[in-house]
């Protein structure tokens, strides 16, 4: 339906945006399938698709495991003639006290390998983290085609 709308309207119409919940580990699977689907529709190359979907998987799991669940917003963005996908991961968890530290490889508070944040940063073109201790965390990433 959406794909058809997109084709009919062209890519220069109002930006597409969708919000998905991240409450269970199945939601993480659904979120990465959604990112894949959008990346395919925007004609991302296979490696670019794989990088963005992998980053989405890491960040969605972070929101679930460390942020006690949240949501992912997926948005189509343009910069001149360039198309891209922006993903925003929001949670209302405990927040990250030291973002610089959290971005280092090997830093982990959970049972993971500590590659989640720093690793996903390398898989995208733009990356920003806003976090307020006690309030939650928002991670925004963009990958350009």
């Amino acid at each position: 339906m959406r794909a058809r709308d997109l084709k009919r309207e062209g890519t220069m119409t109002q930006p597409r945006r969708e919000t998905l919940p991240l409450k269970t580990s199945n939601d993480v699977v659904f979120a990465r399938q959604k990112v894949r689907q959008w990346a395919i529709e925007l004609h991302f190359g296979l490696v670019d698709q794989t990088k963005l979907v992998t980053a989405a998987s890491e960040l969605a799991r972070n929101a679930l495991d460390h942020g006690k669940g949240g949501q992912m917003v997926i948005e189509q963005v343009t910069n001149g003639a360039r198309a891209g996908l922006k993903l925003i991961f929001e949670d209302q968890g405990p927040g990250i006290p030291n973002i610089e530290m959290a971005l280092k490889d090997g830093y982990s508070t959970g049972t993971g390998m500590g590659l989640g944040l720093g690793g996903s940063k390398r898989l995208v073109n733009e990356f920003s983290v806003e976090s307020t201790p006690g309030k939650g965390t928002r991670v925004t990433v963009v990958r350009w085609k």
């Binding site: 580990s25 992998t54 390998m113």
Partner: protein, 131 residues
């Protein structure tokens, strides 16, 4: 309950991951493989991931865990069939799967396991690859 099948072939275990795994399914597989090695005395584990479109740090860790646990139980693990885009992404993510043996195809993986002495226990004692 949803499960990834673990097949037995002689002294090997064969696993083909064909679904987009959620985390619980990955944990279940880890438990199943170790249990089967213990039940059947398997000496080799071959995991085919050619259908996986991504391997993130969680799945990567699961593969490394399976390899580590299997080794402690006396079995070698080979992960086969990783797609090139997955390999590129995984290394950029910061995971090069240390301690996990890999091969391009099921066939090459089998050869590695036979070479490691994990083949059929009978009839392969004269295998030159084992010498």
């Amino acid at each position: 309950m949803e499960r990834i099948p673990v097949l037995r072939m002689g002294s090997l275990l064969l696993i083909t991951i064909q679904v987009d795994m959620h985390d619980k399914l990955a944990m279940q597989l880890q438990d199943d493989v170790t249990q089967r090695i213990s039940d059947w005395g398997s000496t080799g584990v071959l995991i085919d991931i050619s259908s996986l479109e991504i391997v993130d740090s969680f799945i990567g860790r699961m593969l490394a865990n399976i390899a580590g646990m299997s080794r402690v139980l006396g079995a070698e693990t080979v992960v086969v069939g990783m797609q090139p885009a997955v390999a590129i992404t995984l290394v950029e993510l910061g995971m090069s799967l240390p301690g996990v043996r890999t091969a391009l195809s099921v066939e090459a993986g089998m050869e590695l396991l036979y070479g490691a002495g994990a083949g059929f226990k009978t009839g392969r004692d004269d295998d030159p690859a084992e010498a």
